[in-house]
């Protein structure tokens, strides 16, 4: 990955915003993959980007950082007693930020913490805003570059291999329980040189598929028994995750179950037919809402979301009135209509979509498997 090019893009943005310093933070309480995207460092850290185009990484684990991170300077977080505010003070001194210089801290900084920053660092202009660095990085990340699209082509092939293997092994009775299926994915992913799964696999047999996200995610219960079973998973390759959902339908099915399956297939096709450069994400999601409404049913979650270093990132395909995301070439996102009923169970059909200058493409081959 060309991390320096990514950092360069942010420096350019900082110039137009007249920022002296930008601070980003990735920690357990508030995960932020921006640091991973900008430097390649995969763990807890603070990152400081200065107006003289230098990047200072302050990682929790210096040994991991030395292996992975592309940056100009590196100091272990322990040297600042793991305290973000005093780390920021040191960084500002290190970069000789002029008095009253504009320093942007993470947009997710809690209000009580923000007050502390302002109180303890009175010499600088501390900025915390929604439409700041994080949001700029989100916009940049939304459009995948050639390297990332290449990764997704490989990743999709690997995901499809696993989809096929799961179908085969569920059908031939090798994979019997939710745990069998989930563990099979963990193993297969690593055999294919993937880093693992992108999120906890959700394997919900017919008794538990009524939940959007089954709880617990998978159990020793049978998978793919009579009725509807849901399998939602993603695998990770070079940091990037796929995200697909298969539904296993074992007959005899009820009339409602058949209706649900028909509707989610139709919804997927309808949504995909509207994928093009400039399309409003809201409009696509609303068209699916309308389709479901005709059958007096509704979907309790969004229609889809961008994927990348995170399982959920921009753009978001939601029908909320304030959703202003528009599709553009380079975006990779899911379409995942789903319907759920406390007694009939649930079903979801999810694939990963790539939009390029040449049009839309379904990368993954998830399916509704009839048994």
């Amino acid at each position: 990955m060309d991390y320096l090019k990514r950092q360069e893009k942010l420096y350019t943005w900082m110039e137009t915003e007249e920022l002296s310093l930008v601070m980003l933070q990735d920690n357990e309480e508030r995960r932020d993959t921006s640091i991973l995207w900008l430097t390649g460092h995969p763990g807890d850290a603070l990152l400081f980007l200065s107006s003289d185009k230098k990047a200072l990484l302050v990682p929790w684990d210096i040994n991991i950082a030395k292996l992975y991170a592309a940056c100009d300077f590196m100091v272990p977080f322990a040297e600042y007693a793991l305290d973000p505010i005093s780390t920021l003070v040191s960084a500002a001194r290190y970069f000789k930020i002029p008095m009253s210089g504009k320093i942007e801290i993470p947009s997710c900084t809690p209000y009580p913490d923000f007050l502390q920053y302002v109180d303890k660092i009175p010499d600088y202009d501390i900025i915390c805003r929604k439409d700041g660095a994080k949001s700029e990085i989100e916009r940049l990340r939304m459009i995948k570059d050639e390297d990332e699209i290449h990764i997704y082509r490989v990743l999709s092939t690997l995901t499809n291999q696993i989809i096929d293997a799961i179908e085969q092994n569920v059908c031939n009775g090798q994979l019997k329980t939710e745990t069998d299926v989930a563990i099979f994915i963990e193993y297969e992913a690593r055999k294919l040189n993937c880093e693992g799964t992108g999120f906890t696999t959700l394997a919900a047999g017919a008794e538990r598929s009524f939940g959007i996200h089954a709880f617990p995610p998978y159990t020793a219960a049978p998978f793919a028994g009579q009725g509807l079973s849901i399998l939602d998973f993603g695998i990770v390759f070079h940091g990037y995750t796929s995200d697909v959902t298969m539904t296993f339908a074992r007959g005899p099915l009820s009339k409602s179950q058949e209706t649900f399956l028909g509707l989610i297939s139709k919804a997927f096709d309808l949504a995909f037919s509207k994928v093009k450069d400039g399309a409003m994400c809201r409009t696509i999601a609303q068209s699916v809402d309308t389709l479901f409404k005709k059958s007096k049913i509704s979907m309790p979650h969004g229609l889809g979301h961008g994927i990348g270093l995170q399982a959920h990132e921009a753009p978001f395909l939601r029908s909320r009135a304030d959703n202003e995301w528009k599709l553009a070439p380079g975006m990779i996102f899911t379409i995942e209509p789903g319907l759920y009923h406390p007694f009939e169970g649930g079903c979801r059909f999810e694939n990963d979509i790539l939009l390029t200058e040449n049009g839309a493409e379904i990368l993954t081959r998830s399916k509704i498997v009839r048994l």
Copy 2:
């Protein structure tokens, strides 16, 4: 679990704080297990607690909530278009909160979001503070009740069974790779009727144990080869997680590796000897720092932390000057000294400790396994 009793405790606290309404939120961006602790609901949701002692849950997944949640009222989040601010407005109306009533929103609310709340809800006194409801719940959760201690006794027995099985199967060569070991735990946990693992298992063979938290967490690489290998895992029973770390040491070891192993054992014993009612967590952590310093080495992470519904919760055994946590009966926490070197590799020894009126007890039997 007696969820109503927990809610009652919070209502009592709300009274002394003169709060009309408390809002809590658990979502992907900011996980908060307070809602799980207060109601048993295991997924994304908003929870409103009113001064007339009623709890309104607004879950993302109504089907899951109906199965798990103890509360007075329930409305699907989709009815408010998944928008927290308009949900809060509706809740305030529903509970007939008087004008200028004090409404506390989550302490982790980002500063830019806080401004929106205040802007869009001018009729109420919106409070967002560090020492508020979340922190009160944290204090309450820190002291485990009889039911929770019982769960931990069972959970520790199950964890110990898995520890023994891992030792046996690594020693006899059945578990060869990091993935073998990690997957073995996933399977065994579910066989023992556990919900799964409490966090991603970290299995780092000798080539990768230099990292505090190996990245990726586990791979197809060999485990327990010559040198030091680390295995950090926890299993979940009735929502509660254990957290243990084993080190596998296969000789011949270098002098430094032997020194590391000796030091972490000694550090564990030293720390445990200081565990008693009223002990300052900072002092315990600092005593280990001092021990390591004598050997001119330092530990890049905290000495331990509370466990419960989360893998990391209060109290925190850290040596930072601002750490004011004190030990008290009912606390369950880890002690986990670890040392790491880019070439020699790393080792960590972690067990779960219970402090009762009768003194301290090591619940788990993690070990340094010599091969």
